[in-house]
Structures are given as C-alpha cells and as structure tokens.
Subunit: 444 residues, 2 copies
C-alpha cells in the first residue's frame, strides 16, 4: 500500500502539477447525459433498459479509444484494464452509469468518466504505472428497477451468485438476467471477478455536508450501517369528542411520540460521537419518513399507526444501541397508552469501514493538491462498499449543491467535479506506483 | 322553572313510585330497529331515505295511538303534543330517528321512544300536567347524508332558514329539500317553530365515562365547543442517510411534535379544570386524528405533513386558550426545524351550557329515584344544544357499553335504558307541573 505524502516526490517529478483535462471530462459527462435525457436536466437510464444499453455502448466506445482491455462479465459489469509495467491485480476505480427514474447527471457517471479521463491524462503525459489500472462500471447499482441495489458490484465481490442476480425481480415483473440478455450485455467473464489491488471511487456526496462546511473534497471513512424497521401500533378507535384523554388508546399519539423519540435518540447518540467518544464525523441519523394513521379522520382517535424507523451509523455497536433505545422507548410509550406494538424488520446492513491507508492517502493527496478536506461517512450505499469485501477500498466525495440527488436538480459545480477527478488521478497513481522513467518513456 | 326536590312531594303523591313500562319501551325500540336493519345488530336510516320514511311512519303511528296533535314542519321535524290543563308553551322532549350509515339501535331513537313511553305511562296513570307535553323528532340530526348535522333542530330554533336547509347538498349530490319532498315528509308548519317552555333530551352517552365510573345516569351540563383546524407543515425532502439531523427541515418530525403537544396541552388544561379552577368534569380533549406525510417513504425526510387538530371544551375561554397554546407551540416547533406552518380553519362551534335549573332538576330527580349520577359535558352534538338557543334545555345520559356508538355494536343494557326513561318521566312532569287532582281525574 502506498504511503501518504509520496505523490509530491515522484521519481521524476512529472506528476507535480499534473491534472486532468477538465473540459474533456465535462464534455463526456454531457455526452453521456444525452442518453436518457429527461428534458428537465435529469436522466433516466434504469438498469437493463434500452437507454442503459445506449449509455453502455458510449462508455465502452471510449474505453476502446483508450486501448483498454474491456471485460464484460455475466452480470454485465464492464471493466476496462490499462496494463501496468508489472503483472498482478489492478488498481481499480469506477462506479455505475444506471440511474433512478428521476436521476441526475453525476450520480455514478462522474466516477466512471473521471476514471477514463485519468487514464487519458496519463496517456497524454506518457506516464505508465507499475500496477495495472482499471476503470469499471457495475450493473444495477441503483436497484431502482431491480432490488437489491448494488447488485452488480455485490456479484463481482462474491456476495451474491450469478443465479441469484439473474433471478432478481424487477418492479415491472421482469427479471434482471432476462433483461440484461435482452439488451445484449450479459458477458462471458465469470463472477465473482478478480480481487483488485485496491478500489477507489469518486462520487458526488448526495448530501449537504461538504457544501455547508465549504469544503472541496470529502474523504469518505466508510458507509453507514442501515437499520430499517416497520412499526405497527394498535390501539382503539374512539370518538374524539366523547372519549376522555385518560381512557384513550391512541395509536396515532404513540406513533408521534415514537417519531419524536427517534430524533432525540439519534441526536443524543450523534452528539456523544462528536464529543470524542468515537471517530469524528460518525454522525448518527434517525428518520421516521413514513407514518400512516387509520382511520385517519379529524374526529376519530386513531386505531392504528404504521410507521418506519430508519437508523444509520458507521459504528455497528452504536447502531445496535440506537435500535435498543428505540425499542425500549416504544415499549414504554405503548404501555403507557395501552397500545400494542409490533416490529417487522425491513433491512439491516452492517456498516463498512474503508481501509485506513486508502482513507489517509485520499486525504493527504487532496491536501497536497491544495484542496480543503473533511472526513465523513457516506449515508448512501455505493459500489465501493461491496469492493471493500475483497480489497482495500475508499471513496472521494465532491459537494452536491443543497445536498440534492436522485433529482434532475442534482448539481455539482464544474470546478468541483474537476477537482475530484484530480484527486482521483493522484490517488490512483499513488496506489499503482509510477514506473521507472525508462519504462515510462518506452510506453509513451 | 320547577325547583329540584319537588317531585317527591306531588300534590297527591301519585307520582311516588311511578315508572315507565320497560318492556313496552324495549319492544318499541326493537320494532323501530327493524326498519333499516343492517343484519348485524345495526341500523341504516340515513336522512330522507325510504327507510327514514318507514321509521317516521311507524313513530307517527304511535303518536296517533296516543292521541297526540301531530305537527310536521317544512323541514320534516315532527312534534306530537299532549295538551296540558293550561295553555302555553309545551315542555318538550325528543331527539332524532335518522342514523349514520353504520348506526346503532339507540342513538336518537331512545330519546324519541322514551318520550312517547312517558306519555303512555302518564295516560295509564291518569295523570295530566298543567303545561302541555310534546315529543319531537328532528330531521337529519346525524348530518351523515346532508351536512350540516342537527339541521332539523337548527331550523326549528331559527339558526338556519328553510331555504338554507332545503339547499343542503348531500354526499350523493341530492339536496335535502328535494329528498324530503320525495319521501313525502315536507310538512306545512313553518320554521322556526314555537319556543318550548323547556326541552330535555334523553340520549345514550356515546362515550365510556359513565360505564367506567359505574354510574347509571349522566347529568349533562352542556355540549363542548369544537375547534377543528387543518395544519400544513412544509419542510424539505431530503435523503434520510446523507442529511445530518441539524441540516434537516423535517415536516414529519414537527407534525409528530405537534401531535404530542396537543395531547400535553389538553392534559394540562383538563387537569387545571378538574382541580377546581372551573366546573367539575369540564374535560378538555385534544386529538390529532389525521396525519399524512409526503412523500411518505422510509428513506426520505418528509417534505410536508398535513394534519388535523381537534380541540373541545365546554368553556369557550379554555377552548380559545387551548387554540392559542397549540398555535404558539406550532410556531416555536416549526421555527426550530426551519419548517413553515399554515393553518386552515375547518369548523368552530361555541360551547353550549345547559340551563342550571334544568341540570339541577335532572340531577335531583335521578337521585330521588335512587340512581347514581355524575355531571358531565357532552362531547358530541345533540338536538338539545339547538333548542338551548330558544328555551331552557338539558339532557339525560345513560351509559354506552365501552363507549361505542355509530357502530352496530352500540349497546346499553335494558335496565339502563329504562332507568333513563324513568328519569325523563319525572323530569318532564316536574317541569310541566302536575295538575290538581280533580282535573286529573276528569282527564283519566
């Protein structure tokens, strides 16, 4: 693993001052955004649709222009490899090009096209690396058409079999395998794929933290663990005028109390972490996004409340503690009102901690390039968390305006996109190692 | 106005020990319940339907059997009058025979048929009163087909014109006037009707208070004022994973906080009243029965919350104070979360306080008959509150099993129904005054 600080002392100094060609990167982002353009600034390239295929053709064409060895696996993951001067596992970057139905222009695509721009920049500068470099895009990262999300990278990392992936049922009743074959992108390379030497993904933050802090580069420390549960509270429907408060079994009231408790518990646990009891920026979040009452009438005490509780933390112990605290609170609140509570688990993903050396390298590289940095966890899932199962992995974030994503209004300023690509360039070279000058000269 | 305590010292002692014929009352309740029987123990006689007409024919037939002077007014209210020994305004009782779509057997019908049973009992005993006695049933009390509710008694009391009543639009698009004419029950007597000397209504409680207290007779002190408002909270939709708590504008959280605050404010104000700062049993209630989030997804912070706030109190000052406290709390909670709040008034009815002498008479009468009593306000609306606009009025409640009403499971034990009718008997005679023995003898 390359040590931080190495980049400014490259063997021949050729990396000092090197940067990607920003205009070229932005042009390619625009060209890809034209495929599945929704006309409102947004993109729709749901996995395994014709527009997904159109995007794939465009990107693979650019891979061939770069002379990459393009490998398409059985679940449609595409990996373009640039040889190093030594054999062995590649240093890989990449992300995805599928989108949600109302997607933006940068979610996923930035990581893929910045990776290709890095290779083009190295070509232009006549720089070869010791280890091979690879740029990948993984199938069905969004999961917006075929749950689960991150399906392609999960299969690449061996977390799901080909058969399981193919059998994933879409929201339209189709299956992933059949639809991938239909668009002609089921390749021959088996899954799981070869473990990279390391994996680094550039992505937009999709949250407001960097913008709010005025920081250019987010050094991603890991991906939050997720706990999704559904809570059904059952009380008694009663007349809102004739039933005294003390005789009520108001499921809606308990639902509201639980929602307030979720915020309070998340705030307390998040506050404890930020006061030095855990890693910095290990933010706890808790959300009640869905709450439905029945019969939901102005003059009737609610008989039932059905709600979701979304808890996330990068530390599995803290996440489990949040789950315990919420469950205890629900039990007490329900008992006080004479309401019964029933939990149903919806999803539970353990947190992912990125490789400390990769995290440190991203941070040192960004600072060496003059960028302001901030360590933060990712609240959303990414392909890098699947690759983290098989190799040292990390991520680079650039700011999202107002934190908006999965929305045509998704935006990152051009100079911020380019700054992220520059960090990716130097991190990849740092991980792959620059070849001795004679070899570089021979390759240029 | 008759003073409490008078009943046990009637001129000739003939009232002591007098009671209604319970079996006869229960038979008539069952006979009326057979019209619009829903087969599950419930009744459907929505206003101005053929089943409403069927119920009317049955009850008016019983009025004719009693030799009453039956008067049908322009909005279909029916008043059967039994002469007194003196001229002047009648002491009136009654209620309604229309039901909600899933109505029970006793809501309204008890008050009408107990009134008729009182007259039959007096006939049997050869007792005449000084003032005339009248039994009424008012049109469209439920408002379940034609809002507003209590339309007939409101028109009788002059609170709405004939034209306004006729123009009331039903949930099926029909109008009240046309449908009343269609079933043949638009009479000739003008509205508003003559002010009674006093009005007393026997009704099931429709709440759980009497049952819970183990009390036989509820002495109704008034009808709660009602404040219905809709609150729309507008925040910002955000990713539940990537948006730190401190950067959120979570409309759902504020909605939940408001629901909790409504319960707390109602509890505090209700508690203050029960600690001697107001009339006893002037219970404050507050309910958030409807709460809807948007987009209502597990992993998205809610952008909007739309909810209702139902506040009720018998004291208009306390009700207004509750409205102020809730509004102030909403303002503070919304500001703290960076959410905007918009109120829309839905309904506001001032409380009705029943005549203190009538209330005292109901209480003294029930006690003299050996019943346990409890003063309480009505949380639901009743015809008596409209009559209270034009004459001294009051109500007698009997217990509702588990507080259930507007439901086929609505139930009151037979002996409780009869006990209520006995109280009504003695209260009516107390208000009308018993005629001197010679005149009574002449009439028997």
């Amino acid at each position: 693993m390359a040590a931080p600080g190495r980049l400014t002392t490259t063997p021949d100094g050729r990396l000092a001052g090197l940067g990607v060609h920003g205009g070229r990167l932005l042009d390619r982002l625009a060209a890809l955004a034209a495929v599945g353009d929704t006309g409102d600034g947004g993109n729709c390239r749901l996995a395994c649709t014709d527009d997904d295929a159109g995007g794939r053709e465009l990107v693979v064409g650019w891979m061939h222009e770069l002379g990459l060895d393009v490998r398409i696996d059985r679940v449609g993951n595409v990996v373009g490899v640039r040889d190093g001067t030594e054999a062995g596992a590649a240093v890989m970057t990449g992300s995805h090009i599928d989108t949600v139905r109302t997607g933006g222009r940068y979610d996923g695509t930035l990581g893929v096209l910045a990776g290709l721009e890095v290779l083009r920049t190295l070509d232009d500068a006549g720089i070869r690396t010791r280890r091979p470099l690879a740029v990948a895009f993984f199938s069905n990262e969004e999961g917006a058409r075929f749950p689960p999300d991150m399906l392609g990278s999960l299969a690449y990392a061996g977390g799901i079999t080909l058969e399981e992936a193919d059998a994933a049922v879409g929201i339209d009743g189709s299956t992933f395998g059949a639809e991938l074959a239909r668009i002609g992108w089921a390749g021959e390379v088996p899954v799981p794929g070869p473990a990279p030497h390391a994996f680094v993904e550039l992505h937009i933050e999709q949250g407001p933290v960097l913008e709010e802090a005025g920081v250019a580069i987010g050094v991603v420390t890991g991906v939050q663990g997720i706990s999704w549960r559904e809570l059904t509270l059952t009380g008694e429907s009663n007349h809102a005028g004739t039933t005294p408060l003390r005789l009520r079994h108001d499921a809606g009231l308990v639902g509201a109390q639980v929602a307030v408790a979720v915020r309070r518990i998340a705030t307390v646990l998040g506050g404890a972490r930020s006061q030095g009891k855990g890693p910095p920026n290990s933010s706890m979040v808790g959300t009640v996004g869905s709450l439905r009452l029945h019969p939901d009438l102005v003059n009737v005490v609610a008989a039932t409340a059905t709600m979701t509780v979304d808890l996330r933390n990068t530390d599995d112990d803290v996440l489990a503690e949040a789950e315990r605290l919420v469950a205890a609170e629900v039990e007490a609140l329900a008992a006080a009102e004479g309401v019964t509570a029933r939990w149903r688990p919806l999803a539970r993903f353990a947190p992912v901690t990125f490789d400390p050396d990769v995290v440190a390298l991203v941070e040192a590289t960004a600072r060496a390039l003059g960028s302001t940095t901030m360590r933060l966890p990712s609240g959303a899932g990414h392909d890098a968390q699947m690759l983290a199962r098989v190799c040292p992995a990390g991520m680079v974030f650039v700011p999202s305006r107002a934190g908006i994503s999965h929305n045509p209004a998704e935006h990152t300023d051009p100079d911020q996109l380019v700054a992220g690509a520059d960090v990716l360039l130097h991190v990849l070279v740092g991980l792959a190692g620059i070849a001795a000058a004679p070899l570089v000269g021979a390759g240029a």
